[in-house]
């Protein structure tokens, strides 16, 4: 059965983030109180995911290298998007990620106080990646580069849990249709199955946010529909976890998120060998 390989230090897998840093990411989305630049939304999402991964792999002696992580940005150029000590690094073992954020930011958050009101809290937020918005949108080129990283990885780790590529964009490629490049990624194989491509679409086109939908009917424009169509189907065990989180799933459920939170994908990953047919 595919997607059941053990994720362990002896058999690690990789996570590749591909993030849109083009000029259009300067635009704002949201409405009312929470207006944010798209570039901020996607960099926050990645920073959060990286932190999530390091916590997930933390053991008593420190963070274990169950994953190696690459982070490609595309805009004025295509290349590693890490800031700070990891600048220009491509595939980085998770333990190094854990100890090398570029900085800790103090952020004030408004959270519900449980009694209907909101309280302001200051929290520390580790940052590996800065929001960038500059230049064109060489999406195809960046995805081709991600393909190369994944391809090298599966060559070196032929029996790994299939690598996960998470692509974050506002959807408007300037170097052609990305379908071929994404096909290229999804056709890469380990003995445990095809590499997984997830897309997070941040868009100002409005419409209802969607998390792992199984059809594109409610998606507002052709960009969203295209990204939906080039996203992998969710493997069975991930659907089980999605269902546990209250999401409706079907055979058509894909790894696509529209203007919503994507951090739950870390919760979909099983570390070590686990029986995955949970209720």
């Amino acid at each position: 059965m595919p997607y059941t390989a053990e994720i362990s230090r002896a058999n690690p897998t990789c996570f590749v983030f591909v993030v849109d840093q083009s000029g259009s990411m300067q635009d704002q989305i949201g409405g009312g109180e929470v207006v944010q630049r798209k570039a901020q939304v996607v960099s926050d999402a990645i920073n959060r995911l990286l932190y999530e991964l390091t916590l997930k792999c933390a053991k008593e002696e420190g963070v274990r290298d169950y994953f190696h992580v690459a982070c490609l940005g595309y805009g004025a150029s295509v290349g590693s998007a890490f800031a700070g000590a990891l600048r220009e690094r491509e595939m980085v073992p998770l333990s190094e990620i854990a100890t090398n954020p570029a900085r800790l930011e103090e952020r004030t958050k408004k959270t519900p106080d449980g009694a209907g009101g909101l309280v302001e809290q200051t929290v520390k937020f580790p940052v590996w990646l800065d929001p960038v918005a500059d230049g064109g949108t060489p999406m195809t080129q960046a995805l081709a580069q991600a393909r190369r990283l994944v391809s090298d990885w599966v060559d070196a780790h032929p029996s790994c849990f299939p690598p996960v590529v998470l692509h974050l964009t506002d959807g408007e490629s300037t170097d052609g249709d990305p379908s071929t490049a994404t096909q290229g990624i999804m056709s890469l194989l380990s003995t445990d199955g095809n590499a997984l491509l997830f897309n997070l679409h941040v868009s100002s086109a409005g419409g209802t946010p969607a998390t792992f939908p199984d059809n594109d009917a409610a998606l507002p424009d052709q960009f969203a529909k295209l990204l939906f169509s080039i996203s992998s189907y969710l493997p069975e065990h991930m659907k089980v976890y999605a269902k546990q989180q209250g999401l409706a799933t079907s055979d058509g459920t894909r790894g696509f998120v529209y203007n919503a939170d994507v951090t739950s994908i870390v919760q979909f990953l099983d570390i070590g060998t686990r029986a995955s047919d949970l209720r």
Partner: protein
Amino acid sequence: MKYPSGADYAEALQNTAACFRDPELAGGTVQSTPLGMPRAISGNFASVFCIVSPRGKRYAIKCFTRHIVDQQDRYVAVSTALADLDRPWQVAFDYQQYGIFVQGRWYPLLKMEWIEAQGLLPWLEEHLHDSEAIADVTAEFGAAVSDLQSAGLAHGDLQHGNLLVDRAGRLRVIDYDGMFVQSLANRGAAEMGHLNYQSPLRTMDDFDQTLDRFAAWLIYVSLLLLVDDPGLWIQFHDEGEEKLLFGRDDFVDQEVLEALSGPPEFDPALQSLRSCWDADDLAQVPPFDPAALPTPSEMLSGDFVVSTAPAAASRARRTRSAEPLPPVEDLEFCGGLLLSRTSLALAVVGLLGLPLAVFLPVAGAAVAVAGLLTAVLIAVPAYRSQPENDARQSAAAELAARRHDREVAEDRLAEVQQGERGGGARGPGRTVVPSQRAASPSQHDAQRLRELEAERARAHDALQELQSTEAVRLRDALSRRQETHVQALLKANEIDRAILLGVNRSLARQLASRGVFTAADLTSVEVIDGGGRSGRGQTMVVLRSGRRVKIDGFTAANGKSLRSWYLGEVAKAQASAPIALSASETAKIRQGIEIERRQLKSAQARLMKRISQENRMAKHRAQNGQVRERQNDSRNAAAAARRLVLGAQDDLEEAQWAEQVAARRAESYARLNVWRFLLR
């Protein structure tokens, strides 16, 4: 329900005053990483944080990241059951349904005492060469499982991540999320446990008190084998693997059991694993009962027979310190009394001469000089000639000699102590790394390897032969096919229709009476000229069956025409025979060969794998023997060094004693000076 993620919890924990309602936790301090972020330890269902309460007590807080069905009921039931049990391996906990406030909601948490401990894998890796510690943990694990078993409970997820070893080396079993308790029987399982520890037969429907059997045997046996032979870790556990010695693949193909067999002390342990792995049904997995296996301490004492230091140390030592030193004696000169008295008298006389010299200078001086001079002249040689003087000198010499001895003994002690310290690096406490060289397999192993090698060589030869076999089979098939063709054509030629030959009907009947109807019934025709009753010769035919029969009424001429007809028919038939096999026939043969080739190949591959495994094991066993030998060697060397030190200490003590005795004697004699000689 969507549970918060690890990062959600970590964020909430940055403000403990707001996220907890438990007074011991609210306002407590979260243990953090060097970066100053909350430090987490995560499993697949939860992240665990360490909180120091305002009053300084440490707690482990388990925050759940995945939903567990009926969690509260489960924890209440488990809590009740474990409270009754009250065993040292347990970790006390308090399940709080509204324990932690995250993003506007309360979530459950599990508050536990914080255990300063290591997970079983990192602990084992650090303690591989401390077989005693492993033996203790093994015994404690066995006891914990027995405790659960006899209370009708099952943990449900026994595996390395849920077994901690605390600072005192005691085993602690944690993570009761999936526990079976009688009162939960109808709730079903909450999880299926770690794949590398559970029977492939286990399903979500299996939830009863036998749940742990498979994992318990697996863990117990792994640990037990490691007590005997820590090298197995290097052999069977690749770095970073999420298992002890065995993983899911092993349960299925079981080759590992073969590879491990050899040491007789392993037999019962491997037998237990086999009975777990062979089970067709979970119910067949035997209850956990290690009584048939060697105990961890038996494994430990096993064949580690070494002569160790304590035996040498127990050698009876003289304790000089308890003995009193001889006193400093008040000695007197024995002889020369007359002379000493005389010289004393003369000296007195001489001294009397001194006041006399005031009045009679010359006479007084003469008396004084003469008296004193003679006194000296008599006293000195007399004193010198006393035997006590020699004795004093020899006492002094003796003292010098003893002092020298003591110095030598001191140096010697320092030297052997140095040696012992230096040798300590090779001592028994140190990790002994198996060397890759010169470990030659035992006779038994070598024999088995030779047999396997021979088997492999046979498979190899068979594979080589297959090449020529293919050609042979193709050729045979072709000739069979040609033969059939020829026979078919020959059969189609009935002899009585062969009028052309001049074989008339009655002759044809003769042939028929011999069973020859067509050319296909013959294989050859023999003609004997001039023989027979008529002198016109005879004809014999060889039938298909190989029988040679005479055909009545056939003259030589008849025979010749029969023969030429027969040969002609054969030649015609052969000329039209196929010269090659059809594609499908060839393919069929080739496929047959290919199947054989694959079978041979995979047999060969299996053998190769087996050989390399056996080789590794043999080498490993040999190395292990070496390691033990070297461990023993180094233990013996250490013991020898210890013995040397102890001996040198004894010698030194003895030398010091002798020196002190000599010093006393020397001191006694030192008092015997010339004054003492005179003034006694």
